[in-house]
Amino acid sequence: MLSLTWALIAVPLASALVLLLVGKRGDSWAPWAGVGASGATFVVGLGAYIELLSRDASDRSHHQHLFAWITGGELKVDAGLLVDPLSLTFVLLVSMVGTLIHVYSVAYMAEDKNRRIFFAYLNLFIAAMLLLVLADSFLLLFVGWEGVGLASYLLIGFWNYKPEYATAAKKAFVVNRIGDIGLIVAMGLMFAAFGALDFETVLGGAAGASEATLTGIGLMLLLAATGKSAQFPLQSWLGDAMAGPTPVSALIHAATMVTAGIYLIVRSAAIFNGAPTAQLVVAAVGAITLIMGAVIGMAKDDIKKALAASTMSQIGYMMLAAGLGPIGYAFAIFHLVTHGFFKAGMFLGAGSVMHAMKDQVDMRRFGALRGAMTITWVTFGVGWLAILGVPPFSGFHSKDKIIEAAFVGEGWQPWIFGGAALIGAGLTAFYMSRLFFMTFHGKARWTDDQHPHESSWLMTVPMIILAVGSAFLGLILASGDRFATWLEPVTGHVEHHDPVLSIPVIIGATLLLVALGAFAAWRLYGAREVVPVATQGSLATIAARNDLFQDQINEALYQRPGQHVTRMLVFADAAVVDGAVNKQAAGFLKWGESWRRLQTGYVRSYVGTILGGLLIVLLIVVLGGL
């Protein structure tokens, strides 16, 4: 199956094109064609996995050259695919979760008359995401990077007849553009330093490059990662991105695309290993975002936005782990995989709830849904336990490793990063429990026309499968360090380091904080009655509800000054640039008019011109020769 890797991209891409071009005729079979294309990628991915597994650990890398892509001067880039444990992990995650969400969408989008387009976009996303992770060069990765950005934009704005949804799509697009500039500049630096953009040359040559170069490249890659993964300071788009249909939020804005930034950093490990400063910044960004996301999540009443804040926070954990260097890479990817399962599962659960509650997203209007929607309640509950990090659920194995790794080091760093990770765990327990209790427990606060019911099997089966993964995947992958060993060819072998606190202490403290958080949430939202309309709240609550004023800060810091600069430039353009050009054009025209008169129409004057010209030319030649 390894030789068929190109099909991983070609099949969903072809399916997307067909679905887009086939017109209304395809409306009836489009959803299942989309499911089929996505399912095919999973089959191929699984085949490749089995084939790779049968090889020696040192030989688990398959490079497939596709074609000579760009040959321009010194820049030569071949298009090729790189299948190794890291990319294959993503392929399996994307294709499996993607296929489940495709199936879920068949029921979720059944009423939408544009569902053919929806499935085309979903397939386009799968193709682009797989290209992103399979690319063998930064440039090809960039194509996939832009492709998932495009798919994300199209899907956030899928219901673009609502102006605020279209605005949300645009916001995601613009913020991502800033990150993309980082990737472009990083590629420029790579080309300047290594003369190539393929992984082999760049990552292989990283050891020989100066630290300053590596730091520059690393920071630019980090900028790209913060845009795509909604990390501080480019995090503001993710909350608004919840405007897209819920399956999109589950697939793109929780499980896969937003983790592309982590992939980028782990893939560029060789660069970051040589740039400790850049690594420190990565870890700091992760720590800031994980706390920020958790704080925002505590005050959100919109179930999807609360989950989005949680996604931000969880990716913050992964970013922190990736910034810790070789000891963290494997755990970052490990948490990424488990998070992909439990967060996608919870998003699908939220979608199921919304389906039952007539697209209501305000948790203050939920409550007591566990009776009406047992399957959703159970599957969501598994995801909740997983994200809390309750043993033996998946999140425990991955998150706990990150917290432990964060406590490794010297000086102040382990205390800051470890402390942030620890506190984040407590905050996570609080806001996720708040979400869970407000939705499924307490008293029903439904509006009169809502009659919740369990969703159809097409929606519940994917939720059940994801819940099973959320429950057991962590345990399976963690036992005997199976996952870390699998990734070792890419992330490198790591000696065991002892944290500054002993491991039982860390685990104990984490569990204690989680229990406290969950208990506080139960006291506030489970046992007590929740008012259907939010009260004013304290200053801190208001800040958190407003995403810690990130939009206002962006507006004051960038948008307003930007608008003024733009206005100034427009004025300068009209007055100076256009003015100069127009004056010049007028001058040229006058010039032309005056020379036009030389063209009298008389042969004698033409001969005169030729003869005069000849004499002048002769004179110039003779004078020039002197």
Partner: protein
């Protein structure tokens, strides 16, 4: 006095012989086939068959050729890769032109007058038109001119070059005079072209005589080997070289030897202009390259001053005066002058790159201009009684063409963009390699002026695009301008349009072939 028969290697000359033979055959056919319609069909068939088979033989020769080429006749004619490349281009342009020659409007009228000898507006002319006479001599004339041009690219002797020059010029003078509409303008153009052409031929011939006087040689290579010994300070040699080149600059349409171009473009039948624009440019560029690279390059600095001066003058005159034009053909005439300047930019410094850049450049330029002139044959004036008349010459008459005929306006926009050198069209790649040739020998001031001239030129190209697409059609234009639809012109438009796009997006293959063309059997190239 002994006289030895020259040894001639006939085989490489086959394409030229086919074309000239078919031309002679065409003259005979004129005498033997009486029925005008039959004669026209036969002439079209002969011309197209001769041109395509000449092209095929030339291509076959290119493919099977080992090494640089063959000296056909000692010191006189050399068929090498460089000249074969130009011959293929000229034949290609001649085929496209022949299609336009053969085309006729929906009302069934061709581009040429039915009776060239009749005075404009005379009773004889009216009678000839009513009788449905056909002036089919244009096809043999086209073949003669084509044959002359092909020979022009291969000649390596100053005196023999003059013969080829006249062979290609005389048919052109006649064809210019044969327009069906606006006969007086056509006659005036032909007369001016003839007088000025004779003048420039005289300049050339006098220059060749001076060169002979200075070196006692007429062979290009022979002169080239003597120049270093005589040196550039010899006034007779210098004046001779400048005058010879002036004769070629005249054909190339470079300033200050350009004054005939606008009047001839305006008066000549459009198919003839299309042929001249592309094929004459190719022939003149080929001969210029051969003279410079095999013979006079050793003058070095003095020669370079001449080329710089003429190049700058052509670019400036061409672009600046084009801005002030209101007649579309005159606008293209000035654009042609500017392109002569761009060609000279590539030549400046005598880089090897110019030898490969120019065939490609002239190909892109020729395709775009043949296509543009083909579009011009489709936009015609409508008279008060509704009959479709002559082509619409004024720019104002093209207003709003985009909504009336998206195909024509779109094709025209594509050709204009290619001429302006907008990326993803052939013209961009052509300019890129041409200016690249100048940069490779450090002639960056010329390349800079070329880029500025291109930017200024873009103004008048884009102005026509704006007129066609972004201006509403006034009612006057709607009534007075008719869109014709003739199959052959449309075929030419499609063929050239597709080529312009393909060469713009995938130029590598053609550039590779063009690279192989950078070979002379004798001379500077490669040394």
């Amino acid at each position: 006095m002994t006289f030895t028969t020259p040894q001639i290697d006939w085989v490489p000359l086959t394409p030229i012989l086919i074309v000239l033979g078919a031309a002679a055959l065409g003259i005979l056919l004129e005498a033997f086939i009486k029925a005008p319609q039959t004669r026209r069909l036969v002439q079209v068939g002969v011309a197209l068959f001769a041109l395509t088979s000449a092209g095929a033989v030339a291509v076959a020769h290119w493919v099977t050729l080992e090494g640089a080429g063959t000296i056909v006749m000692r010191d006189m004619v050399t068929v090498d890769r460089q000249s074969i490349a130009w011959q293929i281009l000229i034949v290609l342009f001649a085929i496209l032109a022949a299609l336009l020659y053969a085309d006729r409007t929906k009302a069934g009228e061709g581009a040429f007058t039915p009776l060239g000898a009749a005075a404009p507006g005379s009773a004889e002319e009216t009678l000839a038109r009513r009788k449905g006479l056909e002036l089919t001599e244009v096809f043999p004339l086209l073949l003669f001119a084509t044959g002359g041009m092909m020979l022009f690219t291969a000649v390596t002797d100053y005196v023999f070059l003059f013969v080829a020059l006249e062979l290609l010029s005389l048919p052109l003078y006649i064809m210019v005079s044969l327009a069906r509409r606006r006969r007086l303008l056509s006659h005036e153009a032909a007369l001016k072209y003839f007088l000025l052409g004779a003048f420039s031929s005289a300049l050339y011939l006098f220059g060749a005589a001076l060169i002979y006087g200075a070196t006692a040689q007429t062979s290009m290579v022979g002169v080239g080997t003597l120049i270093p010994l005589i040196g550039g300070n010899d006034p007779i040699l210098m004046v001779g070289v400048v005058m010879v080149l002036a004769g070629l600059f005249f054909k190339l349409g470079a300033a200050p030897f350009h004054s005939w171009v606008p009047d001839v473009y305006q008066g000549a039948p459009t198919p003839v202009v299309a042929f001249m624009a592309a094929a004459t440019k190719a022939a003149a560029a080929a001969a210029l390259l051969r003279i410079i690279y095999t013979s006079v390059h050793t003058l070095g600095w003095e020669l370079n001053i001449l080329i710089w001066t003429v190049a700058i003058a052509s670019m400036v005159v061409g672009t600046v005066v084009a801005l002030a034009q209101t007649d579309i053909k005159r606008m293209f005439a000035y654009s042609w002058i500017a392109h002569a300047g761009f060609i000279l930019v590539a030549v400046a410094g005598f880089s090897d790159e110019a030898l490969s850049a120019l065939p490609f450049y002239v190909l892109t330029y020729g395709l775009a201009s043949v296509g543009a002139f083909a579009v011009m044959t489709q936009v015609r004036e409508r008279e008060a009684d509704g009959t479709v008349a002559a082509e619409a010459p004024r720019l104002g008459q093209w207003t709003g063409l985009g909504s009336r005929s998206p195909f024509l306006a779109g094709a025209m926009a594509l050709f204009l963009m290619s001429l302006a050198g907008i990326p993803l069209t052939a013209g961009f790649v052509g300019k890129f390699v041409a200016f690249g040739a100048a940069l490779s020998v450090g002639a960056w001031p010329l390349a800079l002026i070329g880029v500025i001239a291109s930017a200024v030129a873009a103004f008048f190209y884009v102005r026509l695009i704006v007129l066609m697409f972004f201006t509403d059609t006034p009612d006057v234009v709607k009534d007075a301008v008719a869109i014709d639809e003739t199959p052959l012109a449309r075929a030419v438009i499609i063929a050239t349009g597709v080529s312009v796009l393909v060469l713009g997006v995938f130029p590598a293959w053609a550039l590779g072939l063009s690279d192989q063309a950078a070979v002379f059997v004798t001379g500077l190239a490669g040394s």
